[in-house]
Symmetry: C2
Subunit: 593 residues, 2 copies
């Protein structure tokens, strides 16, 4: 794989990270045994796979479902790939190979491959409607193909994806045809294809697609959803480099920004950096819920106005929370500031994880912060982007743990794992033990240190007011923090042990004072976890909490290690991600105290 | 004055801020009675004023001194202007008027006015050597003229400055003549002239001068000092928008960056923002001393390499520390992040203030962090930029206290004062009581609140681990912090009182682990103050400190309120800014514990 530009912080590839975490180990295991299998069954049951068979001429009939349904199949394949990197699974690999065979059969002679257009429209309709997700499907095919190649070494899907990418590239571009992707995804996927193939034209095409935006090329194309939403719906109202406020459809927005980061990092390009910083402030300080959820409105699946963050009608699409991880991870690579990893942590343990049930088989598309008792998890959706998004996201959390930049190693997430990377020419191997998110103790063991002498950057989580660090049993006093990272320089050698103790206590959070929905209310957090009150534990459900002297206790009826909070009036709060897994009822994050 | 672009946070003009601070009141008073008078005497005694008389043909003889000496006169005039805004003073105003008369007489028919070139060279030598500070002198004339107009309403010096600026503008520019200022200053001064006159051509000229840099126009011009230093010495090695690492002469660097901020803020221009952020990281995280001092090398009065921060040979020019205030104040306006105000605080109480003696009459050009006993304050320098820099800086600290952006008010420095500003169309008046830097209690009184309902942003100093806020006697629990500011939204009305209590304790600081000079050492701070060990208090001068159970005590032989630190072994540490004011001896900031 081509080396990224050296100014862009790189995560350690997933196949070099083995997650060995009590918490995430269970979540990933549940994903493999639950989510992935459920999504495989549903993709087959709901005609998604049959569409490919029909497009290949191996089954009669027309297209069934939504025009973007191919993408679900690719996302499941990508999820299988990550799962295989974590743990071999003969069934999953066989199933993926089968699917790839079917997909590849459906590819047209010229490389084109979107089932809806092959089955339902004339050939000349291809690339005639920028909203119709052809590029979106291609993007997910590319991501799946690259992941599957890394997981198995098999290149069949990659060849299919390259042929389709080349077909797409031959139909858009300067002097060929305007193109503004209606649902961004192809941009970041082309970056991955460039990294895989080292063909710079994919990177340039990605940049060209970003540049087309906001220049009038999307006018009248239908990419803006309802006409009254205008071009902001698809981030087509201003050129990328001028963007300042997060607007429109939330998932589209963060997928675009992710690609803008990649282009900035890989080409050492200044152009989008000011916009990215402004957009991040806009997203995080003015349009994000405490859970990490973004996009408050169901209407446009996106943003309304600054500080408009209602709790009951909060849309907070699961895909958008996961997209925030994609974007923030890349921001972290660009700016090496732990505040981006803080947002990732917020999503990991709250807004993204809440999207899947504890058994991995039911999903939230929408993640409100208050429920009157009628909002519940579902096994599948007509538009099932969120379940399949989770399928590929959960098994890939390992890539957010570490980052390497120049001669410095960054520890971003305290997820127990073993990893291998290189600093300069030297192999570095580390093992992290952690009991996050319920306990704040971590132990990092140096398994192989190369020449030592590199800086180890430990993220001090934003919620942690006190911490202790010991190196080989001795308290580390030389504490210097830069951009939220404690920087340890030491002649590291095999056998060194860095012990971390982050004080993990209950902390009371308030909203920005302009969020009128939460005036006078508090939310309780403990470490990285946002807590909520669920009716099943609180029959009175008075949405009040007595914050003085709250007790923490482990609970048997929730997954191992879950700490619940109990106040003096015996009100019980549980982690937000775990809600709606028991008896149905009301729920609230923001409470009166 | 033309309104700045509304995306650029504005400080409240100095004449709308009255400093009423115990600490700064005394410093400003000492500046008025000591520094300004001393500088007036020295400018007259050292021929600086006589040069103007000779240039006017009113005194015989040639030029005396250094070619850039005019600038000292302007800086003193600017200091007088700020001092008059703080407090009327008939003597100072009369003196300034006299000087302005003399200066104006020296102006040539065509508007040109640099004594050295008028007296010593042929007319055709003007603007022939970019290093020779003609534009630097013009810049300081502009800054003085604008300040004096604001202080007194008198426009004579402004007319002189405009005529000279127009002369300069007629000789440089596209198709007229290349120009790369050897010592940046004109760029930020032209911005002030634009704000004063509303003539956009001054702003455009400033931007043009910034753009010329790093494009080869400075090659062979002599602006780079010693040939072996190369173009980085005058920040002429790469175009401004590509800059990443702080390099070369420290004062030149930060003056340039200040202008880059202004252009970015006033023209809502993205171009320099990525460079500014990179340069700030480079400056603050890799090239700044704990005192805020920058530029470690005497050789180039500037930077060597990252983390090369020797203590004894630290150059840390006073002007560079003050330039850091200029730059960081503008960064704060651009990004509304308190980390910039934190740097200003660091400079105010340490690296800048150390440049002047407690009686205001002796100066440090160089501010090392260790002295073997031979480094002492001096009344004047052959190159006396630092004393005159202090002359204009100290009386102007009031402008760093508050900032307004859109409908939000920012309190950046806890310097007791009264101020008046507008939010929208409404007059806002506030009074701040504070005992900084020695005590952490502050009280902000609302004198006039307009329609109320605006957000009050209180900087939480980086060193403060615990604080309390009360509004009208009631603890304020609705705490939400964004970019280091506690955001209070309230229907503010006359008579409201906001009480702040910042826990001000001793804190132990370590260097970045790559600063080899400080490995294993600590520096002690208390609140914003860096402390040092001076031989006069510590005859043994063992450069050690016992950090456990240190005591704080007020001391009579140092200015009122000074808290010194005493350890168990009776070692005494005093604030760094106050060193070398008593018996001569050794001094050290970094100590072994």
């Amino acid at each position: 794989m081509k080396k990224l530009h050296d100014k862009y912080g790189m995560s350690i590839p997933l196949h070099k990270v083995k997650v060995m975490d009590r918490f995430w180990g269970q979540v990933i295991d549940t994903s493999r045994k639950g989510t992935i299998l459920a999504c495989i069954v549903n993709c087959e049951k709901t005609e998604r796979m049959n569409n490919f068979k029909r497009a290949a001429g191996k089954m009669p009939g027309g297209f069934q479902g939504n025009y973007y349904d191919d993408s679900d199949v690719y996302k499941v394949l990508e999820g299988i790939a990550y799962s295989l990197m974590n743990e071999p699974d003969a069934y999953l690999e066989k199933k993926a190979d089968e699917w790839i065979e079917i997909i590849s059969d459906a590819q047209q002679e010229d490389g084109y491959l979107v089932c809806y257009f092959i089955l339902e429209t004339n050939q000349e309709k291809r690339y005639s409607d920028m909203e119709r997700h052809e590029d979106y499907c291609l993007g997910h095919m590319i991501e799946a193909a690259v992941a599957y190649r890394h997981a198995t070494g098999k290149t069949k899907l990659l060849e299919t994806a390259v042929a389709f990418a080349d077909h797409f590239a031959a139909h858009v571009g300067d002097g060929i045809g305007d193109w503004v992707p209606g649902h961004q995804e192809i941009e970041l996927a082309l970056v991955k294809l460039y990294q895989e193939t080292e063909k710079e034209e994919y990177l340039r095409l990605s940049q060209w697609l970003i540049e087309e935006r906001g220049r009038g090329h999307g006018v009248g194309s239908g990419i803006w959803g309802k006409p009254e939403w205008g071009p902001a719906y698809a981030q087509d109202d201003v050129p990328a480099y001028r963007m300042a406020d997060i607007k429109g459809h939330a998932v589209r927005a963060v997928f675009l920004y992710s690609a803008m980061c990649d282009i900035s990092g890989l080409l050492d390009e200044n152009r989008y950096l000011p916009a990215l910083l402004r957009l991040w402030d806009s997203a995080v300080y003015r349009n994000m819920y405490i859970t990490g959820g973004i996009g408050s409105s169901k209407e446009n699946e996106g943003f309304t106005g600054d500080y408009d963050l209602p709790n009951e009608t909060a849309y907070c699409e699961t895909c958008a929370a996961i997209g925030m991880v994609f974007w923030n991870h890349r921001m972290n690579g660009l700016f090496l500031d732990s505040k981006y990893a803080d947002v990732i942590e917020r999503e990991l343990y709250n807004g993204a994880l809440s999207g899947v049930s504890l058994d991995g088989r039911k999903f939230f598309y929408v993640n409100p912060l208050y429920s009157d008792g009628t909002h519940h998890r579902t096994e599948w959706y007509d538009c099932s982007c969120c379940p399949t998004q989770l399928t590929r996201f959960i098994p890939s959390v390992g890539q957010y743990i570490y980052m390497v930049h120049a001669d410095e190693l960054y520890l971003n997430q305290y997820i127990a794992s073993e990893m291998e990377t290189k600093i300069g020419e030297h192999v570095i191997r580390m093992k992290l033990e952690s009991e996050f998110p319920y306990k704040g103790g971590c132990k990092l063991r140096v398994l192989e240190a190369g020449q030592g002498g590199f800086v180890l950057n430990l993220r001090i989580p934003w919620w942690c007011k006190e911490y202790k660090v010991r190196v080989n049993g001795v308290e580390w006093s030389d504490s210097y923090i830069e951009k939220g990272y404690l920087k340890l320089l030491h002649p590291w050698k095999e056998g060194d042990v860095i012990e971390l103790e982050f004080q993990m206590t209950i902390h009371i959070q308030r909203s920005h004072p302009k969020v009128l929905h939460n005036v006078g209310k508090v939310a309780l957090m403990r470490g990285p976890l946002v807590y909520c009150m669920e009716e099943v534990d609180n029959k009175a459900f008075d949405q009040r909490v007595d914050v003085e002297g709250m007790k923490e206790e482990e609970r048997g009826d929730l997954p191992a290690g879950v700490v619940v909070l109990r106040d003096h009036q015996d009100r019980i709060l549980i982690p937000y991600y775990a809600w709606d897994n028991r008896e149905k009822g009301r729920m609230s994050v923001w409470l009166t105290c």
